[in-house]
C-alpha cells in the first residue's frame, strides 16, 4: 500500500478549509451546525470570488460572533434586526452581495417584523436561517420553532400549544411573499445534505448577482447543548423529530 506520507502531499489535496474562514477556533459547541453552514457560506464566497463584494450581517445569537470566523467585512446587528440593517446595505451598495445569518429566535420571534418586510420588499439579499428549535446562546430556552412536546429550559415539561402556541413555520410564510425568489429548506447532517445545502447557498448568492430579490435558505439544524444530546444523537433526533415537521426541499424557485 501507499505510505500515508506519500498521500498527504499538497498535490493530492482534494478538500481543505476555505480561505474565507479565519484561523480562529469556532466558539460553537462540538457538532454545531453553525460551523458547517459557516463553511458552506465561506466556500461559496471563495468559489464565486466575491470576498471584496460580500458584506455579512450577523445579529445576536450564537452566530453573533460570525465575524471572528468569516474573513469578510461584517456588521454585527441587534437581535432580530439584521434584515433591516441588510436592507440599507443592499440599497446603498447595490453592487455588493449582502447576506444575513440569523437563528430561529432572532428571525422567527423578535425579528419577525423585519424579516417579513425585507422579504416582502424583495430586498436583494440572501437570508440564511438556522433553525434548531431552541435558543442556544442564552441556554436552551423555548424558541418559536420548538416542536410540540419538546423540552426546553422554559418549557421544561415540553412545549404545550395551549400555553405557548404552535411551532412557527415561518419559511412557509416567507415563500408566499412576492419579493422572494428562492425559498428553500435544507439540512447539513449528512454529506448529501451538505452538498445540497451548498448548492442552495450558491444559487442564493447568484440570485443576488442577478438582482432577483430575496433568497431565503432555512437550514434545519441541531443544538446538542440545548437539546442535551451528543452531536451524533442530535442528528438522529433531528431526522426523527424535526424533519417530519420541517420538511426539506424547495418551497419556491422562480
Amino acid at each position: 500500500m501507499a505510505d500515508i506520507n506519500e498521500i498527504i502531499k499538497e498535490e493530492n489535496l482534494v478538500y481543505s478549509k476555505s480561505k474565507i474562514l479565519t484561523d480562529n477556533i469556532m466558539s460553537y459547541c462540538p457538532g454545531c451546525t453553525h460551523g458547517v453552514v459557516h463553511k458552506l457560506v465561506a466556500e461559496v464566497i471563495e468559489e464565486m470570488n466575491i470576498q471584496e463584494k460580500t458584506i455579512g450581517v450577523c445579529p445576536v445569537g450564537c452566530s453573533v460572533l460570525a465575524y471572528k470566523f468569516l474573513n469578510i467585512d461584517i456588521q454585527q446587528a441587534s437581535h432580530g434586526r439584521a434584515p433591516a440593517v441588510a436592507t440599507a446595505v443592499a440599497r446603498l451598495k447595490p453592487d455588493k452581495y449582502v447576506f444575513t445569518y440569523q437563528g430561529d429566535g432572532d428571525l422567527a420571534s423578535i425579528g419577525t417584523g423585519e424579516i417579513i418586510h425585507a422579504c416582502n420588499r424583495g430586498e436583494n439579499i440572501v437570508v440564511i436561517f438556522i433553525n434548531n428549535g431552541i435558543y442556544g446562546m442564552t441556554g436552551g430556552q423555548m424558541a418559536p420553532t420548538s416542536l410540540i412536546g419538546m423540552p426546553t429550559s422554559t418549557s421544561p415539561y415540553g412545549r404545550d400549544a395551549k400555553l405557548a402556541g404552535n411551532p412557527l413555520k415561518i419559511t412557509e410564510l416567507i415563500a408566499q411573499l412576492p419579493g422572494t425568489t428562492f425559498v428553500t429548506r435544507q439540512a447539513a447532517h449528512t454529506p448529501a445534505a451538505v452538498r445540497k445545502c451548498k448548492k442552495a447557498i450558491l444559487k442564493a448568492f447568484e440570485n443576488v448577482g442577478n438582482k432577483k430579490g430575496t433568497s431565503f435558505i432555512e437550514v434545519v439544524s441541531t443544538c446538542s447543548s440545548g437539546w442535551k444530546l451528543s452531536p451524533v444523537k442530535s442528528n438522529e433526533w433531528m431526522v426523527e423529530h424535526m424533519l417530519p415537521f420541517y420538511q426539506l426541499g424547495d418551497l419556491k424557485d422562480e
Binding site: Y15, S18, M26, V36, P231, V232
Partner: protein
C-alpha cells in the same frame, strides 16, 4: 486497474471530538483518540488508514473545518 487511496489530516488542536466524521465515514476509517488535545477533546484520527478512499464525507460534515483530505490513484500491483 487503479485503486483510489485517500488519507486525512486532522488539525488536532482545533478538533472538538464531535464524532460527526466518525459516523459518516463509509469505510469506518476514523475514530476518536484515547488521548485528548489541549482543550480536553478526544480528537479524530485515522484508526483504519488503509480503508480511506479520500471521499471527503468526513471533511464535508466537519463543523470546525479541521479535516484536510488527500487522494491518489494507486496502481494495483504496481
Amino acid at each position: 486497474m487503479a485503486k483510489v487511496k485517500g488519507a486525512i489530516k486532522v488539525d488536532v488542536e482545533k478538533c472538538k471530538g464531535c464524532s460527526l466524521c466518525v459516523v459518516v465515514c463509509p469505510s469506518k476509517v476514523i475514530a476518536l483518540a484515547k488521548e485528548v488535545n489541549g482543550k480536553g477533546y478526544n480528537y479524530a484520527y485515522m484508526a483504519n488508514p488503509e480503508e480511506c478512499t479520500g471521499c471527503t464525507n468526513c471533511a464535508m460534515v466537519c463543523p470546525d473545518s479541521v479535516i484536510d483530505v488527500y487522494r491518489v490513484k494507486a496502481q494495483v500491483g504496481a
